[in-house]
Each structure stands twice: as C-alpha cells, then as structure tokens.
C-alpha cells in the first residue's frame, strides 16, 4: 500500500520530521568541515558560543534574525495565497530606498520615533511597489510569478546600483552609498531589552526593528487566521476553484497578497539600513530574501514557526561569522553551504523520510 496518504500525527509532521531533516543537513555540513581537515565539533561549539555565548553574540543573532523574520513573513504571506514569491530579495532592496529616502528627508528635523513610522511606511510602500508588477502580471496575464520575481530581483539590483552610484552617492566618496543618517534617521539599539536579561548588547546592532518584526509577525497571524482577507487568501492558496466559487476576487486577492508580501520584504530594510549601518549601501540585503524562503518553509508558514526559524538562521549567521573568525580555514561561506543544505533537506527533501516513518508508524500503531 502506498504511504503517501497515510495520516501522521502532528508531533511527527511538525516535530520529528523537521528534526530529522535538520539533523541530516547538519550532519552533512559536519562532513564538509571534517573533510577540509577541521574539527566539526569544535566548529559547532564555536558556533554556539558565537551565537549565544555573550550578550553581544545574542544581539547579533537577533539582529540577523530580525531580517529573516521580515523576509520569512513575506514569503509566507504570499505562500498562503498560493504564490511563490522569490522576489523578497529584490523587494527588500528596493524597500531600502524607501526607508533611506525617509531617513534622509527627516533626520535633520525630527527624532527617530517620528521618523520611524514614516520609514516603515516608506520601506513597505517601495517593497510593495516592487512586487506590484509581478503581481499584476500573475493576476491578469498569467505570467508565472516565480519567474517574474526572479527577473525583478535582477532589475531591482540594476536600478538600485544605478541610483546609488549616480544619484544617492555622496560626492567625493568612494563607496556607492548614501550619507550616514543623523540620529533622527537611525533606529535605536535595544540595549535596555538586553539589560532586562542582565546582558550587555555591546556593539551588536540589535535594534528597534526587531520589535517591529515581532509586531508584524503578530499582524500576519491576525491577517491570515483572523481576517476575511486572510481567509480568502488561504482559500485561494489551497483551492483556486473553490475560491472562484466562494466569490474570492482573484485579481484583487493576488495583488493584495503580493503587496503585503512585498511590503513585509521592504520593511526588512529598516533593520540593516536604519538599524545598523545608518546608510543605504549596495547589496545590503545580502541574500536575506532567499533565506526567507528557507525560514518560511521551516516555520511551516506560521508566524511563530517563522520567528523560531529566523532565530535559528540568525544563530547560523552569527555563529558562522564567529567560526570563520576563529577558524580561518573555514570561511564564512560554510554558512552558505549549511543554509543550502538546510533548505535542501528541510524544504525540497521535506518528505524524504516520510515513507519510512509512515511505515514504521503504521507498524507501531497496529502493533
């Protein structure tokens, strides 16, 4: 009998299987480390130390996690509506422009907490704007959103480089980046939050956008499971034909879902641009949009899962930096490998163990 349709309890679906998948990913990563002549156990312990061993480490971990929460939510919202948005990367990039323009315009005049709401709106608007055309193409012309969002990632990169190099650059400066924002354009760090737990943040750029991310995670939860729009999105995502029957307007729902998705991706820019470097730089997104896919997959598109998965990836990032610093033979790119393996095993090979588990479970349940 086929095992594909055997029902498994939640603890297997959401606990055991992701755990096994992750374990394989890490095991293979360990093999890679070992094969280049380094000690994988040392690497793991360094990684944990780097990510969680100090207030600063935790600060960095959460800083990276913040970006991943935004992009993970972005991917998840689209996913609930049945859309695979792999354009979060580009939407975040363009979102950075929105945040930066607001910061540049206001930082002379108002304190950060006045700038912030405008920056949130600016980043979200620009990110959403960058999702609009692919959304429109999917909704009205049937162009596959996966392809169009890939294309828009590249178009966005070209656009941003052009703007940074030719328009936003500070005359006479070498790097294609905007001027540094004044305090009114910076999001303050969360030292106080760390202090509550008796830790020192140090220089880690863990900042207010983390709280914005948590608020967004909550709002996404409300949106998906507590609003009519979310209900319509989920209907569309699971059964387009039932959505037609139920009177869910296809074009509008697709576009709105993508705008929200793009907006969330855009807000990711708040974290690096206004929270950390206080200026807009080229390529500041650095792959966080793609990591969002992994985060959303691992978090099963649920905000709580996404926050947890984002923290896991944050640990990977920060821990990886630490490892590469301490073990010069392991470059930071090892993290890219681990990410890839996690995406592969927790995402694409999600069901690799399912048949075996289903069989074992079937036998257990019977016996």
């Amino acid at each position: 009998m086929s095992t594909a349709s055997v029902k498994l309890p939640n603890w297997i679906n959401y606990g055991l299987m992701p755990f096994l998948n992750l374990s394989v990913a890490f095991f293979i990563s360990g093999l890679v480390v070992w094969s280049i002549g380094e000690n994988p156990f040392e690497a793991v312990s360094l990684m944990l130390e780097g990510a969680l061993g100090s207030g600063e480490g935790i600060g960095f971990t959460l800083y990276y996690a913040t970006s991943f929460i935004f992009t993970g939510l972005s991917v998840a919202v689209a996913f609930h509506a049945g859309l695979f948005n792999i354009g979060s990367e580009g939407q975040a990039y363009v979102g950075g422009l929105g945040a930066a323009l607001v910061a540049l315009a206001l930082d002379h005049y108002v304190p950060w907490y006045v700038t912030m709401p405008f920056a949130v709106i600016g980043a979200a608007l620009f990110g959403a704007g960058w999702a609009l055309i692919p959304a429109w193409m999917q909704a009205t012309r049937g162009s596959h959103i996966v392809i169009t969002t890939i294309m828009f990632n590249f178009i966005g990169a070209a656009l941003m480089v052009y703007l940074l190099v030719n328009v936003l650059i500070v005359p006479g400066k070498m790097a294609p980046e905007t001027r540094t924002f004044l305090e009114g354009g910076q999001l303050p760090k969360l030292d106080w939050l760390m202090a509550l737990f008796g830790m020192r943040l140090g220089p880690a750029p863990f900042n207010v956008s983390f709280l914005i991310a948590l608020v967004m995670a909550f709002l996404v939860w409300v949106l998906i499971w507590r609003t009519k729009l979310g209900f319509e999105m989920r209907t569309l995502g699971i059964s387009p034909s039932a959505a037609v029957y139920a009177g869910v307007p296809y074009v509008r729902t697709v576009i709105v879902a993508m705008l929200i998705s793009g907006g969330l991706a855009g807000m990711m820019a708040l974290n690096p641009v206004m929270g950390a470097s206080a200026r807009l730089q080229v390529e500041f997104v650095g792959g966080a949009g793609f990591v969002g896919i992994a985060v959303s997959l691992m978090g099963r598109s649920h905000p709580v899962g996404i926050v947890l998965a984002a923290i896991l990836f944050g640990m990977l990032y920060q821990g990886g930096n630490w490892v590469s610093f301490e073990m010069p033979n392991i470059t930071r790119d090892m993290i890219v490998v681990i990410q890839g393996l996690v995406i592969l095993f927790a995402g694409a090979l999600e069901y690799m163990f399912r048949p075996a588990i289903a069989k074992a479970y079937g036998r257990l349940a019977k016996g």
Binding site: S2, K228, E232, Y245, A246, P249
Partner: protein, 503 residues
C-alpha cells in the same frame, strides 16, 4: 464468445490511504466478449481497471491473462500482455499531433523517421477496417473530445491490444458517436478481441454487453449475463436497494418567476459553446429539474447562473432585475445560493476545518465578524448549529473537512447553502457519491425549500433523482433545452429526449 477467460482476477485489493477502493475483488472476463462494469461514482471501477492495466499496483491479489498468471508491474507489462486501455481522463499529450500520440511508447526504434511511416500505414489500415478516421497530423488540442477518444482507441489498437478496456467512454460522446463506438466494439468482438466497458448508463449496458459486473463501494457484488438481467435489477444491485426512492412531497404551488434565463450562451474553458441560446424560467415554490446526459452543457449553465462563468451573451434575470456583470459574491448577496456539483473541486476546501467551510462564500457577512475581522466564536457557533441540525458526523467543527465522509461533506455544503435561506437555490448533482441515508436527508431539505416558496433549479444526471424531486423537467442536449415535460413522463420519452432524438 468462448469459455476461455481472457482475464481473471483473484482477490484484488487496493487502498488509497484510508479509502479502501477495491476490496478483495474476483472477476472473470470471457475471451471474445464485451464485458460491462457498472457502479456508482467512486465504486472503484477505474481503480480496478487501472490495476489491470498496470497503472496502479494492487496491494494484494492475482491477475491471470489467458489463463496464465501475469505480473503486471507497469503499463508496459500490460501492453505486452495485450491489454489496452482508454482512460476515463484521456492520457493524451495535447500539443502533440495524433501521430506523435500514437507513436509514443511504440516508436519502433531510437529515431522517429522509420516509425512515422509505419504508423501512417497502420492508421490507414485501421481507418479502413473500423472507420476510425482521424487526420494523423492534427494537433490533439484542436480536436473535439469525440475524436480525441478515437485517438485513444487507435493508440490501443496500434499496440495490438487483444483486450481493450474502455473507462466511461460514452460520457463525452454524442449519441451518434456512441452508436458508432458500439458498432466498433461489436466488430472487435467479432474479431475475437475482448472488451471491458465501463459506464453508468444501464441502457448502454443492455445494448452492447454480453456480461455485466456490478461494483459497489469497492466490492464486486455481482456478475450476470446481460441477457438474463434487467435494468431494474442492475440498478438495484448498483445502489444496494430499490432506487426509485420517492420522497413524499405535496403539490407544488408555483408563484412569481424568480429566476429567468434569457438567450444564454456559454463557452467552456476550451472555447467550445456548451450552452447555446438557452431560455427558461424558474418560479417561486417549484423545483425545475434539468435532465440530460453529463457533458451536455448543464455544468456550464449552472456555473453561468452562479456567476462563476461569464456568459458570452444573453442575460440572467433575478426577481425581475436583469444582472449585468454577475459574480458569485454578488449572486449570494441577492439571495441566490448554489450547491455545486463537485464538492471537492468547488464546494469545499478540504484542508480547512469544518467551520471554515461552513461559511465559505459567506465569510464577508457581518454576522461572521465586524469590519475586516472574523469572529471565530460566532462562526463556530453557527457551524455547530448546522452540524446539529443536519446531523453531520462526527459532530466536530474543528475537524479537517477531508476527514468527513462524502455524505457528510455534502451535508456540510447543503447546510451552508440552504440555511442561508436564499430566494433561489441552484443545485448540481446533490447526491453524487453520497450514501442512501444522506440522499434521503438531502432530498427532504430540497423539498422543504420548495415548500417554503423558494425557486429551486436542480441539475442531475441521475434521471431517477430528477423524477423524484422535480415539478417540471427540462431536458438538455448538446447545449440546448430540447424540451420540457412532467416528471411522470415515461422513461422512454425522457430517454429519447436526452439522446436528442425527439422534441
């Protein structure tokens, strides 16, 4: 027809997860016969045949071909054993030509050149022999379904099938085409080939088969000689009891016209005109039934009225007001409810919890939450009420809808639409794949709606259902309403009308 068995099945068993599609099935098909298989939707006919054709693997049991045990691991093995199958859902590559489709898997060499010539020759021969003519260079996409089916048959014959399985071939055929098909089947039998023929239509069984087997709920309940049985007996075997369930209903008291369809023309997704200039009225307090063989435009008509499908021309008038651009949400708003013919495809979102489906389509109702929000408490309370009233089992509104049985799923849909207390109710196949108990319950509800002065439009391919429920019967054929009659009209008249023969 001889006594040698072309096919013998022993104890075939197949499960799909929790669905037990075939239970311990034995079957014997005589060589050189036409063997009919009937059974309700979901009885397991296609599954059994797909196992025979190597498409699915049985969980247990044995297959013998020509008396020898055959290990049919895949379709390749089936083809090698001389078995050909025309699937219920065609297995054609739509952007390929007829030629390419026929060659696929039987190319006769690593390069296509030599094979194409052979296929052309063979096609010509088959055309002459059976009158199966079709342009080898036509692209499947552009062929009408009847011809597509012909390509499927040619595929099987080209591969030298001695045993030909046809899974519901007539569902997509016009009566003339069906007759042509039957002549071919008879011709095949005369050549000593064996035909297994699946259908829902008892008349066809009576017309063309030598033997008939009946399946019910995954089991093979009987195999009888066609000559020794009757339509009535078969129907009883199929459903498990006398079919003619007459629900008690009083006289209709038709009132004002609530729904009016005027010169409606509708195309399907392929752009084929499925509803052609159709007009009729439905009055308050009556059930208008639309009878017809599946695929004669009923589905498209329903979808157009429900606002799901845009008509090409014509108009729909509700309560005297013509509707411009209808959409399903708007139709609901003005009091038109729709029980779709396919609950899995449209009526329900199976992974949703029951309460979510209990409001599907009405989720924008302020009663289910203010502004943009959903009031889950209110929604669940409402769902529980319906569960109670419709005796939906298990009575748990937090259970995933997929985990309810077919009958209970259908009750969820009915409860949702009927309890809105619409002015107009349009219904497609209300009891497809539903057990007897649920059928009676649902029929009762539909009559109640009528008695409460609603306009009910009922579409069903089950003639008995139409006759049991409808106050007047419209017959659809090839996109037209070919006539109107009373439900008590004799079966022969109705059957002829459905076949498009008499007016």
């Amino acid at each position: 027809m001889s006594d040698v068995a072309a096919i013998e099945l022993f104890g075939i068993d197949k499960r799909f997860g929790s669905v037990h599609a075939n239970r311990n099935i034995d079957l014997k098909v005589a060589k050189g016969s036409i063997h009919g298989i009937i059974g309700e939707n979901g009885a397991g006919k296609s599954t059994l045949m797909s196992i025979l054709y190597g498409f699915y693997q049985a969980d247990g049991g044995e297959i013998r071909v020509d008396g020898r045990p055959a290990h049919i691991r895949d379709s390749q093995a089936a083809i090698a054993a001389g078995i050909g199958m025309v699937h219920q859902h065609f297995m054609l590559v739509e952007n390929f030509t007829v030629l390419e489709n026929i060659m696929l898997g039987a190319e006769g060499g690593a390069f296509l050149k030599s094979g194409t010539d052979k296929v052309r020759g063979e096609l010509k021969r088959l055309e002459e022999e059976y009158g199966l003519d079709v342009d080898p260079d036509a692209v499947i996409d552009e062929l009408p379904v009847g011809l597509q089916q012909r390509v499927e048959i040619l595929k099987a014959l080209y591969r030298g099938a001695e045993i030909l399985i046809l899974d519901e071939p007539t569902g997509v055929l016009t009566p003339a085409e069906a007759d042509h098909l039957f002549r071919i089947l008879v011709q095949l039998r005369e050549q000593g080939k064996t035909v297994i023929f699946i259908t829902h239509k008892l008349r066809e069984i009576m017309a063309v088969t030598d033997t008939v087997s009946v399946m019910r709920r995954g089991e093979m309940v009987a195999t009888v000689k066609t000559a020794e049985t009757s339509v009535e007996e078969l129907a009883e075997l199929m459903v498990g009891r006398r079919v003619l369930l007459r629900v008690r209903k009083g006289e209709a008291a038709p009132g004002a016209v609530l729904l009016s369809v005027r010169n409606l023309t509708v195309k399907d997704n392929r752009g084929v005109v499925m509803v052609d200039n159709v007009s009729f009225d439905v009055r308050a307090g009556e059930i208008a039934g639309i009878a017809g063989v599946a695929g004669n435009g009923q589905s498209e008509l329903l979808e157009a009225i429900a606002g799901i499908r845009k008509p090409v021309s014509g108009e729909i008038v509700v309560d005297g007001k013509p509707l411009a651009a209808a959409d399903p949400a708007y139709m609901r708003e003005i009091g038109l409810a729709h029980i779709p013919e396919d609950r899995h495809h449209m009526g329900l979102v199976l992974p949703f919890e029951e309460y979510e489906n209990a409001m599907l389509g009405y989720h924008r109702d302020p009663a289910f939450g203010r502004g943009p929000f959903l009031d889950l408490e209110a929604i669940r309370a409402d769902a529980r009420e319906k569960i109670e009233k419709y005796d939906i089992r298990p009575p748990d509104c937090r259970l995933k809808t997929a985990n309810f049985s077919g009958g209970n799923q259908q009750k969820i849909v009915c409860a949702r639409e009927i309890e809105r207390d619409p002015k107009i109710l349009i219904i497609g196949q209300p009891t497809r794949g539903v057990d007897i108990g649920a059928i009676e319950f649902i029929h009762k509800r539909i009559i109640d709606m009528r008695d409460a002065g609603k306009a009910v439009l009922l579409v069903s391919v089950e003639l008995d259902e139409i006759r049991a429920l409808a106050d007047r019967v419209l017959v659809m054929f090839a996109g037209h309403v070919v006539g109107e009659t009373v439900p008590d009209a004799d079966e022969k008249t109705l059957g002829l009308m459905m076949a498009g023969i008499a007016a």
